[in-house]
């Protein structure tokens, strides 16, 4: 009895001391409300962001990539003279200004998504994604650095009076290669007002192969991608190779043919996109039409051949070298049916 008395007494004391704070806040959720709750991911936005690093030996700055050998066994060293991510209008990295990356209403995200929604049945899929693409009525043209709302499918906005920093960065890289004792010229690569909306990396595990698998989509749009080479000592530069209105949509792996990652027994990295299985004998009719085929099999292959998400595209509006124009080029609807890349150690 005493014990019960003490407990009730303590409970009463606590109730007096902490008056009903929790009561006002907590409410139970009904089943139908609970069914609408999704696991939330993490959104990331970089505000007024600027990144720059490089090599300036006199001021103690070094950024070097080494450990690579060429086929003759000579050491290859890559010295990164400059790497920057900054606001558009940087004049090839001369004036670095801040930029916003991602939008509050459409950020970069890290999320675990339900595989059933993306064609990977009964799996939880880890996804790193750039801002997703939007409807043409709300989006901005992916290439134009003065695009207005309703002109395209990209969510990231170019710099404007309302948003002076913009959401499309200038990205640049200047590096030189040293092979053995021989220096090469500086190589500069600059992308202006770049957009990677709609890109993602998805990773999950395969039960049968007991292996990490993934899907990689890279969209990269820039009104100008330029490459040139400059002499290291005199800083005299050669002609600039300019690719105007450069649009790359690269799809490596898809939900039917994911990309497999592996390191084999001898320690070499293997990247593989497995070939899709052939249809069973007699499941596709001789005339190739749905009526004469097994409907489910026909639908499967029809999706495989027609789904634009599985295909890679590359378009260049105009290629010019110095003052010469070479016109436009386009590779469209490239479907990777099988890919196997394996690193090989030349020292072995």
């Amino acid at each position: 009895m005493n014990r019960i008395w003490l407990i009730t007494r303590l409970a009463a004391l606590l109730a007096v001391a902490v008056p009903g704070l929790a009561h006002a806040e907590m409410q139970s959720l009904s089943e139908s409300e609970l069914s609408r709750v999704n696991g939330a991911g993490i959104g990331l936005v970089l505000e007024d962001f600027k990144f720059a690093h490089g090599t300036d030996v006199e001021n103690g700055q070094i950024f070097r990539i080494g450990g690579i050998k060429n086929s003759q066994g000579e050491d290859v060293e890559i010295v990164v003279n400059k790497l920057y991510i900054a606001g558009a209008g940087s004049n090839y990295g001369e004036t670095l200004t801040p930029v916003n990356l991602g939008r509050l209403v459409n950020p970069y995200s890290i999320d675990v998504v339900d595989g059933n929604d993306i064609g990977v049945p009964d799996k939880a899929v880890l996804q790193f994604a750039a801002p997703h693409k939007v409807d043409t009525t709300q989006g901005y043209d992916c290439l134009s650095s003065s695009a207005a709302a309703g002109s395209g499918t990209c969510a990231s906005r170019p710099a404007s009076a309302d948003l002076p920093q913009g959401e499309r960065p200038d990205i640049g890289l200047q590096l030189n290669l040293t092979v053995g004792s021989q220096d090469t010229a500086n190589i500069n690569v600059h992308a202006q007002s770049a957009v990677i909306d709609g890109s993602y990396i998805r990773l999950w595990g395969d039960n049968e192969r007991k292996q990490m698998v993934g899907q990689f989509k890279l969209n990269f749009y820039t009104p100008e991608l330029s490459i040139n080479a400059c002499d290291q000592t005199t800083a005299v530069c050669g002609s600039r190779i300019i690719m105007q209105n450069f649009a790359l949509e690269l799809a490596l792996g898809n939900s039917l043919q994911p990309m497999y990652f592996d390191v084999d027994g001898t320690g070499n990295f293997v990247l593989e996109v497995a070939a899709i299985q052939k249809p069973g004998a007699g499941t596709i009719g001789a005339d190739g039409l749905r009526d004469s085929s097994d409907a489910a099999t026909w639908d499967f292959y029809n999706d495989y051949y027609t789904n634009p998400d599985y295909r890679s595209n590359l378009a260049i509006g105009n290629l010019s070298v110095g003052d010469r124009d070479f016109g436009s080029g386009r590779i469209e609807g490239m479907l990777i049916q099988h890919l196997k890349i394996q690193t090989k150690d030349l020292a072995q």
Binding site: L6, V18, P19, F51
Partner: protein
């Protein structure tokens, strides 16, 4: 089992709680209604400076007994190995060493309801703001990307292929704020 000690102890505890809580607690704690609570946001924040060293030079003692980084049979640097397939080889970030120093990394909660070219008003929520430190000083930061047949270099049959190594030194410009917030419909 004796009840007596428990009761006595319990009674004393009750008295102490009573003495400690009754009057001051009543004066301090007030009920906040939902409206008042919704108006409260995190204030202030945290300002961080410091440096992180990862096996920069092998620690405080370097000799033949404890080992030194120049001794090839001992190892300096952290190693992170990840197996991509059951029974397969390992992807390795190896020999992670160096010192990162920074001044003025800030952490705070910020309410965003304006700016961002009109997105702020639509967003109208709190975010965790990580203020980047403008400069991060890298001191002999190195790491290697490699593939390996075993997780540890001491495992039997160890064989490793270094794909490339990276060396960084000096001031890296890192300006801006990283805003972190939940997405979806929590």
């Amino acid at each position: 089992m004796s009840k007596y000690p428990f009761n006595r102890l319990g009674y004393m505890a009750g008295l102490i709680l009573l003495a400690a809580q009754v009057s001051p607690a009543q004066a301090e704690l007030n009920l906040l209604n939902d409206q008042a609570l919704s108006g409260i946001s995190g204030q202030g924040g945290i300002y961080l400076s410091g440096d992180i060293s990862i096996n920069e030079d092998g620690g405080p003692i370097q000799n033949t007994y404890f080992g030194s980084c120049s001794d090839t049979t001992k190892r300096c640097g952290a190693r992170l190995a990840y197996q991509l397939k059951e029974g397969g080889g390992w992807m390795v970030l190896d020999d992670i060493r160096g010192k990162f120093s920074f001044e003025g990394l800030t952490l705070r909660v910020r309410k965003i309801d304006s700016g961002f070219g009109g997105d702020g008003a639509l967003f109208n929520r709190d975010v965790l703001e990580i203020g980047l430190p403008n400069f991060v000083r890298y001191d002999s930061v190195t790491f290697k990307l490699a593939t390996s047949s075993t997780a540890r270099p001491t495992d039997p049959g160890f064989q490793q292929t270094d794909i490339f190594s990276v060396e960084m030194q000096g001031d890296v410009v890192l300006e801006g704020n990283l805003l972190v917030f939940p997405t979806g419909n929590p």
